[in-house]
């Protein structure tokens, strides 16, 4: 079966998703599941009255089945008691959609998980909060705090001068290179912005959360050609005689992945 062999019902929910949007207020709880790295991210918002789901909305970044299962899940549980909603399984969602391609079954899992996460948040008293407060980020230093105590990046010393830079003297050596600039406060932001004049691929990586204030030195990156990754840090530089890739720790998801780069800028 092809990964896109969707039932008519699934296609209908993809084309006309029900209950898209957000909810706000003291009687609202939010559930989140997924990770853009894997290609899907869902938020489910529930408004609870008398222990029932009075209203429900969702936002989803993902493939056709991720969108359709989000939509179907919200349809299924609207009006249910929280106990009933907790019992809704991925199979219930897939059945209601008249089946999903086997490789996409995990998508139906995500929608049910996001719902259950929202119910859990409600029951734990996390109500009326903005979404996206992953536990780990609370452990990170807030924006703007001293960044001198950065953990060492494995392999960086060995490849110093072979793709690892401690300073940027001549930006022209970065022409057409895939460059990763590690957050070291304002000087590193300036370097990242400058390098976009010389190459089309500048990634800025920060272990902090995305800035919320206009005064944060990282805010100007938003309107630039720099690709910014927050809540992630390089843990190792890999390469055979020169930098080839960087192993990255996604702090939000506590996962690791590799990024192909030619140069890594870690200002002193």
């Amino acid at each position: 079966m092809k990964s896109t062999s969707y039932s008519e019902k699934t296609l209908d929910h993809f084309r006309n998703p029900r209950n898209v949007g957000t909810l706000e207020g003291p009687d609202v709880a939010v559930g989140k599941v997924g990770n853009p790295v894997c290609g899907d991210l869902m938020y489910v918002y529930i408004r609870v009255r008398d222990d029932r789901i009075a209203d429900i909305k969702f936002q989803t970044f993902g493939c056709g089945s991720a969108i359709a299962t989000s939509s179907m899940t919200t349809e299924l549980v609207k009006g249910m008691t929280l106990d009933e909603a907790m019992k809704v399984t991925r199979n219930d969602v897939a059945d209601a959609l008249e089946g999903l391609p086997p490789i996409k079954m995990h998508c139906s899992n995500l929608a049910a998980d996001a719902l259950h996460d929202a119910i859990k948040a409600w029951r734990e008293g996390r109500r009326g909060e903005a979404p996206d407060l992953p536990e780990i980020s609370k452990l990170r230093p807030p924006c703007g705090i001293s960044v001198t105590d950065q953990p060492a990046i494995q392999g960086a010393d060995e490849l110093l001068g072979k793709g690892v830079y401690r300073s940027v003297e001549d930006p022209k050596v970065f022409v057409d290179k895939r460059v990763l600039v590690v957050d070291r406060g304002k000087p590193s932001v300036d370097v990242a912005l400058e390098l976009t004049k010389h190459t089309g691929r500048v990634v800025f990586m920060s272990s902090n959360k995305a800035p919320s204030s206009k005064d944060d030195p990282r805010t100007p990156l938003k309107r630039s050609d720099v690709k910014v990754i927050y809540e992630a840090e390089p843990i190792a530089v890999l390469g055979d005689g020169e930098v080839e890739k960087v192993r990255v720790h996604d702090l939000n998801e506590n996962e690791e992945y590799e990024l192909f780069v030619d140069a890594l800028v870690i200002l002193e």
């Binding site: 896109t4 898209v20 290609g39 493939c63 030619d262």
Partner: protein, 391 residues
């Protein structure tokens, strides 16, 4: 010819009706096997050798340097594995580009299981290999380098002349999978020092199930499939005469029409790239801005997922491809996109448009008419985009 707005020529091409016409007698009226000694056999032998001549001419090769195979995958296997095994005494190291299509990575993996060592040379942000980086990967044990002439996915064309010149005289063979480039970029092995070159019939509007391998004189390989010894013993099996005649006809047509066709395709491509980048915010071109196939436009759209885009375009009768994991068999995003330094989430949001012989200006109009709305709708569902707009 295709009924819908078909912008997925890199995945599969229709066979040119003129090619079908040339093939037709070989299904019914001409039963001959080139190995047979009767008149029908002689007729088939003549047609086989004439076809070989035409395919050779198409890439500036000699007739005796071409053998027919069942397609590009077989040609790649025969070239890389056949060469590596034949030349193992001289060394056990091969180099491929990190940006190669997964099929080349898998052939390299098969060789690793047989004890060969494989190095992967990195590419720049456009997916291009540099001679400088290639040099650093070469060791005394290197016997073969395999780098695709162009990427069928992001459309980036490799500097093959430079790469070939750099390797010449060093006892290292150069193989290139040219299927994405053939018919779109001039290929002339009398000028570019390439030792082994993979061709596919369908990529020049010939029938599927046929390919060819160019093997430069004095370059030795061993067969990977024992049998009756056809094709100089390198590729056994009774010759697929209708397809061989078809590929030769396709090469003939392509040779005469290519200059005008390339200009026409580049015009479609440039209109699409300009239109998409100017009408849709937070959207980027993948691959090289200028050194790219004339028929290829490859984009990534922030905060949306490629399969959703593909399905939405499908609903509007437009056929495209995506490098998104959700559309693949393995749920892994395209390795080619990752090799250019893209993050998984960026690879997921990619969309590929490829034009071909029957593409019309209206196809571009149609995409530009519907795509901005589709992107806007999917972004309205996406938590990633809203967050960006608000903060």
């Amino acid at each position: 010819m295709p009924a819908q707005v078909y912008l997925d020529y890199q995945s599969s091409k229709p066979v040119d009706p003129r090619v079908v016409h040339a093939m037709r007698p070989w299904f019914t009226e001409r039963p001959g096997n080139p190995s047979s000694l009767h008149l029908d056999g002689d007729e088939a032998t003549d047609a086989l050798e004439r076809s070989r001549e035409k395919v050779a001419q198409f890439i500036g090769a000699n007739k005796d340097e071409i053998i027919f195979t069942s397609g590009a995958t077989e040609s790649n296997n025969l070239a890389i594995i056949g060469y590596a095994i034949r030349n193992r005494k001289r060394g056990d190291h091969i180099v491929i580009a990190e940006s190669e299509h997964i099929s080349i990575h898998n052939i390299a993996k098969a060789l690793e299981k047989q004890g060969f060592k494989v190095s992967k040379v990195g590419v720049n942000l456009y997916g291009q290999v540099s001679v400088e980086k290639l040099h650093k990967k070469i060791t005394n044990a290197t016997i073969l380098v395999s780098i695709g002439w162009a990427s069928s996915e992001i459309g980036t064309v490799q500097p093959m002349q430079e790469i070939g010149d750099a390797l010449q005289g060093r006892g290292i063979a150069l193989h290139t999978d040219a299927v994405a480039a053939e018919g779109l970029v001039p290929i002339d092995v009398s000028k570019v020092p390439i030792d082994l070159l993979t061709l596919s019939s369908n990529d020049i509007y010939g029938p599927k199930g046929l390919g060819a391998l160019y093997i430069r004189r004095k370059v030795n390989i061993v067969p990977i499939m024992p049998g009756g010894g056809q094709e100089r013993g390198l590729r056994s099996g009774t010759e697929n005469m209708p397809a061989i005649v078809g590929m030769a006809a396709a090469a003939d047509i392509m040779a005469s029409e290519m200059p005008a066709e390339v200009l026409r395709l580049a015009n479609h491509r440039d209109r699409l790239i300009e239109g998409v980048l100017s009408q849709i915010p937070k959207c980027h071109l993948n691959g090289h801005p200028t050194e790219r196939l004339p028929n290829n436009a490859h984009f990534r759209f922030e905060a949306i997922e490629g399969e959703s885009l593909l399905l939405s375009l499908k609903d509007k009768g437009i056929a495209v491809s995506t490098g998104s994991a959700c559309s693949s068999k393995t749920l892994e995003p395209s390795h080619t996109l990752l090799s250019c330094g893209l993050l998984h989430e960026e690879a997921h949001g990619s969309l590929e448009f490829t034009f071909g012989r029957w593409s019309k200006p209206e196809d571009v109009d149609r995409v530009l008419e519907v795509l901005p709305g589709i992107v806007e709708r999917l972004r309205s569902l996406s938590p990633l985009y809203e967050k960006e707009a608000n903060s």
